[in-house]
Amino acid sequence: MSSIFVMAEHRNQALADISLQMLSKGRQLADQAQTELLAVVIAKDTTGYAEEVAKWADRVIAVKNDRLEEPLAEPYQKILALLTKERRPKIVLMGHTSLAMDLAPPLSVELEVPLATDCTDISVQNGDVIVTRSIHNGKVNAIYSFAPCNTVIITGRVGEFPIEEGNRHGQIEEIDFPLEEEFSYKKFEGYVAQEVRGVDITQAEVLVSVGRGIKEKENIEMAQQLAEALGGEVSCSRPVVDYGWLPSERQVGLSGKTVKPKLYLAIAVSGAFQHVVGMKSAKMTVAINKDAGAPIFKVADFGIVDDLFKIVPILIKKIAELKDR
């Protein structure tokens, strides 16, 4: 099998965790298939990144250009398309990130190759690439293979693949990439960072997290009372922010914050992967949800399958009673 590419992303002057995860997985696949792992790093200045990814890769292609300071996906697409046509890897791997959502589908069209996104497992069996995707709200797994082709593009689910220590010294090849195109039809105007107006939930020891099942903004007060009783803060899943019930700074998950509290008490949170990825490292997780099949029960340590409106008021009382003793 010909080589495996991993495109490594960087954020805030460091390699993104997801890229380390994909490098680890890529390394494992390359070892199994007895082929080369080639890491691609694309940045205005690739120093530092290239050396880092070289710990996993046999070779590193470090692509530099001043205009790569802006986060447009279009130059990335041009670069990867060229490299893929040149070097013809069997697999092009990257994390299923915001950048990948902009980049991978057009890349697959340009190269006329298949794309499997947000995969939870990737393997090579008898020279065939097999991937697993999680569908139907995490309740079913779908296993796919590919029609005969030279290259497949795969994006891997964030947090799915463990980071294994890299101990190689891949050969680094630097390329100054000429970007002739202007991409004038798309102009980057800047980043808008999260303002922390009230609360930094990443600092809380206890989080009482509410999901869509809380049903009305007014009911969040109950969660607030519970949080206070436990000395913690209220956080939430995405739909609560979508509905405008809590500000986005309280959102836990892929597009929100990653938290590591002592206790994560999830109330009426279904436990969709995008949320779970933000709280997986909580020391203790408790879930209260009416739906026995909610994915949250798979990651929780303790759970109550019941109506939160019945449980939470009593829970608040019981905590007060136990405190008094």
């Binding site: 009305e216 009911n219 409106f309 008021p313 009593i314």
Partner: protein, 393 residues
């Protein structure tokens, strides 16, 4: 022109702001409008809402989420209509519902109301639970699917899906079985009666539900219906005839009353208890039925029936009407009407708060717990009281 423009725009200004819409039984307080009791702002009384609707119609104020919530916090309990001294009182609740209709048509309603209605559109119940689970409450009983029986026992959404209400649905079934009543149920084929949908202003959805139910009942040859919920009773008795659905509809308390007086149900075993009865809005103020449940309760030896000061047409709504058992705009406070009522029942020394509506049942169960009164006051449906008196429990 919308209904609001056409029918009500000319008279909506007639609200005198006298405050009678909140009148309970005496002038010690003006708190018998459940939303006003909860929020203590004129905005949340019938008069307040009428003035807001008027301002909205004339363009003085714009639609906002807050306005929508103010309107949807109305539980349609009818205290205002019954107490308002002006001649246009027959229209005042309908004005609020018409204003809700306008919001429904524009699509701008609170998200929980949107969910409520979308769930009914999709699954025939406001919870969004699967239709194929609607009949699960029957498991373990020997209740039969309707097939030419004397009566259809119509359970409704709350009785079919809410845990506590399911217990009552089963218990009533057992009582009817004990009295050898010939009845059957629709199980998974039962669809929402539409009462709340109508009070939420979704007229066309209501029409669709009624038409479907009427067609279903006629196809099965159903002529007599006994309902668990006063909400179903209200819709089927008062609205279904407009859609060619004239059935002989009873609320179960009316049936139990005649079963007892006919000697078909023997409650002579009785048991001792001090009970107070909470009049449900959709049986009481909406349909003038105040005595059936009382007759049933007082027929049971050992039971002492005491009355809360606000009873019959002055009952304080539990806060569960107008979809609020789900959308819950009046919850989350010790001023929630259900909690106020639970305290009232407790204060007069009742040990059992008797209800005849699954919405009231669930609202009060939560309220009693929130008040910490579980040791001293239990919420029981009238059917459960009768069951115990017959030795079924």
């Amino acid at each position: 022109m919308t209904l609001l423009d056409y029918k009500y725009a000319d008279t909506i200004h007639r609200c005198f702001r006298c405050g009678y819409c909140k009148f309970p039984v005496n002038w010690m307080d003006v708190n018998n409008c459940p939303a006003y009791a909860r929020f203590r702002m004129e905005t949340y009384s019938c008069g307040g809402r009428l003035w807001l609707i008027r301002a909205w119609l004339s363009g003085e104020i714009d639609w906002s989420n807050h306005l929508a919530e103010i309107l949807y916090s109305c539980t349609a309990c009818k205290n205002c209509e019954v107490k308002c001294p002006l001649r246009f009182n027959v229209d005042i609740l309908n004005m609020i519902i018409a204003a809700k209709s306008e919001m429904v048509e524009s699509g701008r309603i609170p998200s929980s109301v949107k969910e409520f209605l979308e769930n009914i559109q999709r699954q025939g119940n406001p919870y969004g639970h699967s239709r194929v689970k609607r009949g699960e409450w029957m498991e373990g009983t020997e209740i039969e699917p309707y097939q030419g029986h004397d009566l259809l026992y119509y359970v409704g959404c709350v009785g079919s899906y809410d845990d506590r209400a399911q217990e009552v649905a089963r218990m009533l079934g057992k009582v009817l079985q004990k009295a050898r009543v010939s009845f059957g149920v629709l199980g998974n084929d039962e669809n929402c009666d539409g009462n709340e949908v109508s009070k939420l202003g979704e007229e066309t959805l209501f029409e669709m539900l009624v038409e479907e139910n009427v067609a279903q009942f006629k196809k099965l040859g159903i002529q007599k219906v006994v309902t668990l919920s006063p909400h179903s009773y209200n819709a089927m008795k008062n609205d279904y005839p407009r859609f060619n659905g004239s059935f002989d509809v009873m609320h179960y308390t009316q049936l139990l009353k005649s079963l007892i007086s006919d000697g078909r149900l023997d409650v002579s075993a009785g048991f001792d208890a001090v009970v107070t009865y909470h009049d449900p809005c959709f049986l009481g103020r909406w349909n003038n039925e105040y005595e059936a449940a009382r007759n049933v309760i007082t027929a049971i030896p050992g039971i002492q029936l005491i009355e809360m000061e606000r009873n019959r047409d002055s009952t304080l709504c539990c806060g569960g009407g107008g979809g609020n058992f789900y959308i819950d705009l009046l919850g989350g406070s010790e001023r929630s009407p259900a909690r106020i009522r639970a305290r009232e029942a407790h204060a007069i020394g009742a040990r059992i708060l008797a209800v005849a509506c699954p919405n009231c049942l669930t609202m009060f169960e939560d309220a009693v717990k929130a008040e910490g009164l579980e040791e001293e006051l239990v919420v029981r449906d009238v059917s459960e009281i009768v069951a115990e008196a017959c030795g079924i429990m």
